[in-house]
């Protein structure tokens, strides 16, 4: 037996023993969570079978969870429970006496058409249902994005550049508004390519680049904060729930 194989078997034996001890001391649920966390963390050292196992398990469990939640939370009460209420009487007695809604046959048919994608020779039929989804989503989004993300955002940037309150001139709010106004204006200038970026226009574009860089920096900072929060969450679980070292 090669040295690498021997090491792998030793590590495997250690994991099994540690798992058994942990189950005995802390219970199965916490132990499984803790070991899966450690398996994922092991990728920081290098790629390994334990990481692969945890990764694949996560993908599989997530997919199954979403499917089950979608089925029992939406399809059963909102499709079958409306199409033929007595059908769901066993699991949702509250709905069994509701009147049937025959029009719910339309989403059922569209759903079946979508599943035709699984049939090699009839996959093209799923495009009809997909076209319906794309069309309705595009129509819904077009109106709402135009109103809330375009017109309303212009409105949000339209404000006074001189703010005064009962206490007098509000320097902080005035500066904040000026920075937003200049930032939006210069950002727009940077993305205006129909005129050469020269002279005063070019200076505006350069300020626009600075604004964009500050934005990217802030986004990166926030991303770091988010990732550290997740790490803290896992560490709280490992050292608190599992090892009991955090009071």
């Amino acid at each position: 037996m090669s040295k690498t194989k021997m090491t792998a078997w030793v590590v495997f034996a250690f994991v099994i023993i540690a798992f058994a001890v942990s189950v005995a001391l802390k219970g199965a649920l916490v132990t499984v969570g803790a070991f899966l966390t450690l398996f994922i963390f092991s990728f920081l050292y290098k790629d390994n079978p334990y990481y692969k196992f945890a990764e694949h398990l996560f993908v599989g469990v997530s997919a199954a969870y979403w499917m089950c939640m979608g089925f029992w939370g939406t399809m059963v009460p909102n499709l079958f429970g409306k199409l033929y209420p007595p059908m769901v009487g066993g699991v949702l007695p509250a709905l069994k006496d509701n009147p049937a809604e025959p029009f719910m046959i339309i989403p059922l048919i569209l759903g079946i058409l979508l599943l035709m994608r699984l049939a090699p020779n009839a996959g093209w039929i799923s495009r009809w249902a997909l076209a319906f989804i794309v069309g309705t989503t595009a129509g819904l989004n077009l109106v709402r994005y135009l109103r809330s993300d375009f017109i309303q955002q212009i409105n949000n940037t339209t404000f006074s550049l001189y703010i005064s309150s009962a206490a007098g001139f509000d320097f902080g709010q005035t500066m904040s508004n000026i920075v937003i106004f200049i930032g939006v204006l210069c950002g727009l200038i940077y993305f205006f390519f129909s005129k050469e970026h020269k002279g005063a226009f070019g200076a505006g574009a350069r300020v626009g680049i600075i604004v964009l860089m500050v934005t990217f920096g802030a986004s990166f900072g926030y991303t770091v904060m988010a990732r550290i929060s997740l790490l803290v969450g896992r560490m709280q679980f490992l050292f608190g729930d599992w090892l009991g070292m955090i009071k």
């Binding site: 920081l44 050292y45 969870y65 979403w66 939640m69 979608g70 939370g73 939406t74 009460p77 909102n78 429970g81 409306k82 699991v91 949702l92 007695p93 509250a94 709905l95 509701n98 309705t136 989503t137 819904l140 989004n141 709402r144 994005y145 109103r147 809330s148 993300d149 309303q152 955002q153 409105n155 949000n156 934005t215 802030a218 986004s219 926030y222 991303t223 770091v224 904060m225 988010a226 550290i228 929060s229 997740l230 790490l231 803290v232 969450g233 896992r234 560490m235 709280q236 050292f239 608190g240 070292m245 955090i246 009071k247």
Partner: protein, 300 residues
């Protein structure tokens, strides 16, 4: 002299190629040590969080607050403290809490808040009269759009399968316009943005949010006209907890999840900043040495 320079240069090169796993160890220590010590850190509440807090604080008794848990376990360490703090605050204000989720994973996390916060800290809160768990429904923004028109069309039962019409607090709920405040916890899709676009703006319903730090910069432009306030990441949670403790001193001795995150956050950020400065200093030292030795480009 020349020998010395070669030795110095090789040390800089070695440090530039430092194993990333050493940095991981530093970050791990920066995160774990403050947790083991049990340090917490107060955060000064910023105007965007204070505005949210003030809005909830000024809600009259029995106001209807819709809480949408639009996140999963992967972002729970950031979002759960926000959800817990806002639920505490709403319960202190004696609001009626309607809990739902547009994320399947949010359904279980709603239960976490009910079990860990609402039930032990507010035992007088009765299910069906003061709070209800409506559970998850699929449909993303389509679901929100439908709820704006007809709430009970999608929610014919609560999460436990009880008929919606038999729940007393659902009596006068017909659509989203019947709520005094909508709060979305999340930041992904669907999340706060969809609540603003498909419920807040068209229905003229106040919307507040608590989001992951990653998505916070994309949501700030909606404040203050389209969002009453926003809690961005763990810092936002800690700020809200600070405002809560200031207004309700009974929470002073309670361990707040958001605040306990912030010491680890601060220390690990300092470590990251140190490594960024350290890496840049090494880079410029290396480049100046190369220039001194007549090598152009400055890249190793």
């Amino acid at each position: 002299m020349a020998n010395n320079e070669v030795q110095n240069q090789s040390l800089i090169e070695k440090l530039q190629l430092i194993d990333r796993r050493i940095i991981f160890v530093f970050i791990a220590c920066a995160v774990v040590i403050p947790l083991l010590v049990g340090a917490t850190m107060e955060e000064e509440t910023t105007p965007i969080v204070q505005a949210f807090f003030d809005y909830v604080e000024n809600l009259p008794e029995d106001s209807r607050v819709l809480l949408s848990f639009d996140y999963g376990p992967t972002t729970a360490p950031e979002i759960q403290p926000m959800a817990d703090a806002i639920v505490r605050h709403c319960a202190e204000r004696k609001c009626k809490l309607y809990m739902m989720a547009v994320w399947a994973t949010g359904h279980n996390l709603t239960g976490e808040t009910i079990v860990n916060v609402l039930n032990p800290e507010f035992p007088d809160y009765k299910y069906g009269e003061e709070y209800v768990n409506l559970g998850y429904k699929a449909g993303n923004q389509g679901l929100i759009r439908l709820l704006l028109v007809d709430f009970k069309r999608m929610y014919s039962t609560d999460a436990a399968g009880t008929a919606i019409d038999s729940i007393p607090m659902m009596e006068n709920i017909n659509n989203l316009k019947n709520f005094d405040l909508i709060v979305s916890f999340g930041g992904g899709f669907p999340g706060i943005k969809e609540w603003v676009l498909y419920a807040g703006d068209p229905g003229n319903v106040p919307v507040g949010g608590g989001c992951t730090a990653v998505s916070a910069p994309l949501l700030y432009p909606y404040y203050p006209n389209q969002l009453i306030g926003l809690l961005g990441g763990a810092k936002g949670a800690a700020e809200y907890e600070n405002a809560l403790i200031t207004a309700y001193p009974q929470y002073e001795n309670k361990r707040m999840a958001g605040m306990s995150l912030m010491v680890s956050q601060t220390v690990s950020h300092m470590v990251i900043i140190f490594f960024i400065i350290f890496g840049n200093v090494l880079y410029f030292l290396h480049r100046s040495k190369q220039k001194a030795n007549g090598i152009e480009g400055g890249q190793s």
